[in-house]
C-alpha cells in the first residue's frame, strides 16, 4: 500500500491520518453542497466543493480536521469550500477538541468566485485566531502536490504549528503568479530546484516557518501531529513582540540574500549546495541546531 502523502487524495489522507474508522464527515458528498458559481460558468463542481471537514480521533484524542483536494481546481477556496472550513473552526469553539488539524493543499482564492473566496479566506483568518484565543491549537499539514499559497499561506502562518515534507511548499504568491506578472527573470516557475529552494519544506524548516519536517508519508505526518497535540497557543503581547524580533532579525540577517543557499551559508551550513539532495533524516541530522 502506497503511503505517500504527496500522491494521496484528500480522502485517502484523511482516512490514513486519523485513527482507523474514526472520521465523521460533516456535509459529506451525498449532501451535494457544491458551488453554484462554477455551474454558472460551465465548470463541473465537486460534491464536496473540494474540501472534507469533520471530526475524528488522533491517537485517541478528539480532534476536528479538514482536508483540501488539490486536484479539484488547485484546492482553491470558493464560497462553499471556505464556509465549510469556517464552520469547522467555529465548531471548535463549541465542542473544544484537543486540536484542529488542517491538511492544506491550495493555490488560495478560487478565481471563478474570487470575491466570495477572498472574504471566505478573511473569515478563516478570523476563525483561526478565535480558536487559538480559546486555547485550542490549530496545526497545519503541508505536503501535497499544489503546496499552500495565496491567502491560505497567510492562514498557515497564523496557526500554532506547520508540519511539512520536503515536497511541501508554502508561500504567498505562487511562482507561476510571480513569473506571469514580473517575468521569468524574477522567478522561473519551471526551474523546479529553484522553486523548492525558495518555498519548499527544507527551506521553510531552516527559517523556522515549518515546525517539523517529515518524510513524504502519511504515517510520518500523523506521528508529527500527535507529537504536537500538546501545543498550547500563546500569542499575547510578549509573544508577538518576540515574533516581531525574530522576523526583524531575519530581515537584518538575510534581507540582502538573493538565494536560499546564501541564507543556509550564513546559518553555518558547511555544504549548503548539498542540502536539497539529502534524504529527510540525513538533512535533519546535518542542520540540527543551525536553524534560524
Amino acid at each position: 500500500m502506497n503511503h505517500s502523502y504527496y500522491e494521496a487524495s484528500a480522502r485517502e489522507r484523511m482516512a490514513a491520518f486519523l485513527d482507523p474508522g474514526s472520521f465523521q464527515e460533516f456535509l459529506p458528498p451525498t449532501d451535494r453542497v457544491s458551488s453554484p458559481h462554477l455551474r454558472q460558468l460551465d465548470q463541473p463542481g465537486a460534491f464536496d466543493d473540494g474540501i472534507l471537514v469533520g471530526s475524528g480521533r488522533l491517537s485517541g484524542h478528539a480532534i476536528l480536521a479538514a482536508a483540501q483536494e488539490g486536484v479539484f481546481m488547485g484546492g482553491a477556496v470558493g464560497e462553499v469550500h471556505g464556509a465549510k472550513l469556517v464552520g469547522l473552526l467555529e465548531r471548535a469553539l463549541i465542542t473544544r477538541p484537543e486540536a484542529v488539524i488542517l491538511l492544506l493543499e491550495t493555490g488560495g482564492v478560487r478565481l471563478h468566485e474570487a470575491n466570495a473566496g477572498l472574504v471566505a479566506v478573511s473569515e478563516i483568518m478570523h476563525a483561526v485566531l478565535a480558536v487559538r484565543t480559546a486555547g485550542i491549537p490549530v496545526i497545519v499539514l503541508d505536503g501535497g502536490q499544489f503546496g499552500c499559497f495565496g491567502g491560505m499561506g497567510i492562514v498557515a502562518a497564523l496557526c500554532d504549528a506547520v508540519v511539512m515534507s520536503e515536497e511541501g511548499r508554502l508561500g504567498l504568491s505562487g511562482p507561476e503568479v510571480i513569473e506571469a506578472s514580473r517575468g521569468v527573470e524574477e522567478f522561473d516557475s519551471r526551474d523546479r530546484a529553484l522553486v523548492w529552494r525558495t518555498v519548499g519544506g527544507k527551506h521553510r524548516y531552516m527559517l523556522g516557518e515549518a515546525t517539523r519536517l517529515v518524510e513524504d508519508s502519511i504515517p510520518a505526518f500523523r506521528e508529527a501531529a500527535i507529537a504536537l497535540l500538546g501545543t498550547r497557543p500563546v500569542f499575547g503581547l510578549e509573544d508577538l513582540e518576540a515574533e516581531h524580533a525574530r522576523l526583524r532579525e531575519r530581515l537584518e540577517r538575510f534581507g540582502d540574500c538573493r538565494e536560499s543557499i546564501e541564507i543556509w551559508t550564513r546559518l553555518g551550513i558547511e555544504d549548503p549546495q548539498s542540502l536539497p539532495l539529502l534524504e529527510t533524516q540525513a538533512f535533519l541530522a546535518q542542520v540540527g541546531g543551525k536553524r534560524a
Binding site: 471530526s55 471563478h112 522567478f187 522576523l247 530581515l251 540574500c257
Partner: protein, 235 residues
C-alpha cells in the same frame, strides 16, 4: 483624493500623521477623541519591510496607548510579487501583521478601516479586512484580479465574464460587489469626520460579514453552510 487631503477631511481638528515614503502613521483628533492612524499611499505593494513597520507601530499603540481607537487607511495593489520576499517568508510577515491587529482588538482597541484608494488580495486580507468594521469610499477599487487577467487564467471568454458580472457580485472587482458580499460595512460619502465618529461608536467585534453578505444577496450560501457544519449533530 490623495492621502493628505483624506487625512485633512477625516481630521479637520488636526492630526500629527507623518509620512515615510508611501507609509504614514501618527494620530488624529476626531470629535475630541485621539485616534491612531496607520496607512499607505500610492497603491504600494506590501512587502516584508512594510508589513514589519506596520506591525511595529500597531504593537507600539498597544503598549503606549491602551484602548486607543486605530484607523487603518491602507492603499495597496496587493502583496509584493518578488522571489526574494517569498524566500524570506512574506506570508509569515503578513500573518504577523494580522496577529498584531487581532491583538489590538483583543486588548480593547476599536479597529476601523477605510479603503480609500485601492485594496487587493493579500494586502487587503492582512490589513483592512482584520478591522472590526471595514468601510470604503465610493471611488475606491477592491478586488482580486481584473476580468481580462481572470479570463486568461480561467480560459472563460471575457465577454462571458463581463455579462455575468452585470448580475453576479461574486467575481468581478468593485466596491459595490464587496458591499454585497458583506466585506464592506458601508460606503462613506460626504462628511468623513462624521462617518469616522459614528463608526467608533458602533463597534462590535462580532463577525457579521456573513450575515450582511446573506441579507444583501451577495453570498447566499456562506452563512448557512458554515452554520450547518458548526451545529452538525453528530461527531
Amino acid at each position: 483624493m490623495d492621502a493628505r487631503t483624506l487625512l485633512n477631511n477625516l481630521f479637520p481638528a488636526g492630526h500629527t500623521v507623518a509620512f515615510e515614503d508611501t507609509y504614514f502613521h501618527g494620530t488624529g483628533t476626531c470629535r475630541g477623541a485621539t485616534v491612531a492612524v496607520l496607512g499607505t499611499s500610492e497603491e504600494v505593494e506590501i512587502g516584508v519591510e512594510l508589513a514589519l513597520a506596520m506591525a511595529r507601530d500597531v504593537l507600539e499603540v498597544i503598549k503606549t496607548a491602551p484602548k486607543r481607537p486605530i484607523l487603518l487607511l491602507v492603499a495597496t495593489s496587493g502583496q509584493r510579487l518578488s522571489r526574494r520576499d517569498e524566500m524570506l517568508g512574506i506570508n509569515a510577515y503578513l500573518a504577523h501583521l494580522a496577529k498584531t491587529i487581532d491583538l489590538a482588538k483583543r486588548k480593547g482597541h476599536p479597529v476601523v478601516s477605510l479603503v480609500w484608494s485601492r485594496a487587493v488580495s493579500g494586502g487587503f486580507l492582512s490589513t483592512s479586512m482584520l478591522a472590526d468594521l471595514c468601510f470604503a469610499l465610493p471611488e475606491a477599487e477592491i478586488g482580486v484580479m481584473n476580468l481580462p487577467a481572470m479570463s486568461r487564467i480561467t480560459k472563460i471568454p471575457l465577454e462571458r465574464l463581463e455579462s455575468l458580472s452585470a448580475t453576479s457580485p461574486v467575481f468581478a472587482p468593485g466596491v459595490a460587489n464587496y458591499l454585497r458580499m458583506g466585506a464592506i460595512e458601508a460606503i462613506w460619502q460626504g462628511d468623513l469626520e462624521a462617518h469616522l465618529d459614528a463608526s467608533l461608536r458602533m463597534l462590535s467585534t462580532r463577525e457579521r460579514r456573513r450575515v450582511l453578505g446573506d441579507s444583501r444577496g451577495g453570498r447566499q450560501l456562506a452563512r448557512s453552510v458554515a452554520e450547518r457544519v458548526r451545529s452538525h449533530a453528530r461527531g
